[in-house]
């Protein structure tokens, strides 16, 4: 299955989205800051031969989900204003939990406040895993923090590691409490040896500036992480005749670039 996440930047992006979805053959497309009309997008996709659905939301209007699978295959388990946790089940595929998130920006929150929000999110993911008895959890979205920041790495936060071999050990005890791991393959996208070195570019006049950030990430429970096609994970810079970069090579049509990955969910499909 192919997944795409994009923070569309609250701008009208219909033709870019149609190109993105068709070029990547995305089965599930998750959007943050999406400002377009759902029906118009679905019509546009249909006219190019793609039969897509818009999934309803209850309490999380910040995240919009589109899929080629009908909405009744996605049940909403837990929500808050910044995340939606859904169970996806379809015949022939392993059932998974999809936790989709758009956390607040540092423009409005300190790193400490961000950490608190991420603790709520992680606790709700764990509750959802317990209630559904599903441990195949994929967390996808705009975390508004880099993979190396506290909220992504700390045991009380997402506890997501850059090394699958370590994450496969399951978890660790901290202060006599057990915390389970996520694997964060998005670390592999850092550096400039291949492609573009981030999903978000920010030029900071201060001493401490990184310019490129990877705020848009996917992290996976170890039980499902081996099904990720790690070579497929990439930051999308173009799709058909849409160029997502401006003439300086920075994100252009939104301030974020889309993220794409592919996962084998077929029953018995574990590598």
């Amino acid at each position: 299955m192919n997944f795409v996440f994009w923070n569309a930047g609250n701008r009208s992006q219909q033709s870019a989205l149609i190109n993105l979805i068709s070029a990547t053959n995305a089965n599930i497309t998750v959007l943050a800051e999406y400002a377009d009309d759902d029906a118009a997008l679905l019509r546009g996709l249909y006219s190019t031969g793609i039969d897509y659905y818009a999934l309803p939301t209850i309490g999380c209007p910040r995240i919009k989900i589109f899929s080629d699978t009908p909405p009744d295959h996605f049940s909403i388990i837990r929500e808050a204003d910044r995340y939606s946790i859904r169970k996806f089940s379809r015949s022939g595929l392993e059932p998974i939990l999809l936790a989709l998130v758009h956390l607040p920006s540092k423009l409005y929150m300190s790193e400490t406040d961000q950490l608190q929000d991420i603790v709520f999110f992680r606790q709700d993911i764990e509750e959802a895993e317990q209630v559904t008895e599903i441990s195949h959890t994929i967390v996808l979205g705009d975390f508004n923090m880099n993979p190396y920041e506290k909220g992504m790495v700390a045991a009380t936060g997402m506890h997501s590691l850059p090394c699958l071999r370590t994450a496969l050990s399951g978890g660790r005890m901290v202060q006599r409490r057990e915390y389970s791991y996520f694997y964060n393959p998005t670390w592999n996208l850092f550096g400039d040896t291949e492609g573009i070195p981030g999903t978000y570019y920010h030029s900071n006049p201060g001493y401490d500036a990184r310019f490129w950030n990877i705020l848009d990430q996917v992290i996976l429970r170890p039980s499902i992480a081996k099904r990720l096609d790690r070579q497929s994970l990439r930051i999308v810079t173009e799709a058909r005749d849409t160029n997502f970069l401006d003439n300086k090579g920075h994100p252009g049509i939104s301030d974020h670039l889309p993220l794409f990955f592919s996962l084998d969910l077929s029953i018995g499909g574990e590598k």
């Binding site: 309803p56 939301t57 209850i58 309490g59 209007p61 049940s75 909403i76 388990i77 837990r78 929500e79 808050a80 204003d81 910044r82 169970k87 607040p104 409005y108 929150m109 406040d113 608190q116 603790v119 709520f120 606790q123 709700d124 509750e127 209630v131 559904t132 009380t156 409490r177």
Partner: protein, 140 residues
Amino acid sequence: MTSLWPEVFVENTKPSAKTILEQQGSQLSRLTQGMVYGEVEQLSRAEIMDLDMGIGFAYNFNICGRYLDNYRFRLMTLSHDIALYPVSFRLDGELLKELGYGHQDIHTVNTPEELEIFLKCVFNSERVKNVVGAIMSMSK
């Protein structure tokens, strides 16, 4: 030796925030013919520590759909110490905006009376009406 204790102790009869919210959760069920209800979910010691919410008691107040496969929407998280009041609330972000609290997401109430005024404000918000309305529509 003379007693160092006061002459009498008076039992604290103030209704706790948990009790008030449980009652309101049932009221919501009555108003929606059982389709939607409010649930008070106690946080564990470990969860309270992770959230750095002091050393007392903490709860989530969730809006739930009876016919929606375990659906829970976390509207707010509240905490207090053994004295029951004051109670600190962390609110849903959309609600914060609507109620004009900006990004100051901790709201504190000091008495049951203040709590009732606060909850009336929250429960009558467009945000809560939209969530409850969406659950009702998806429950049919």
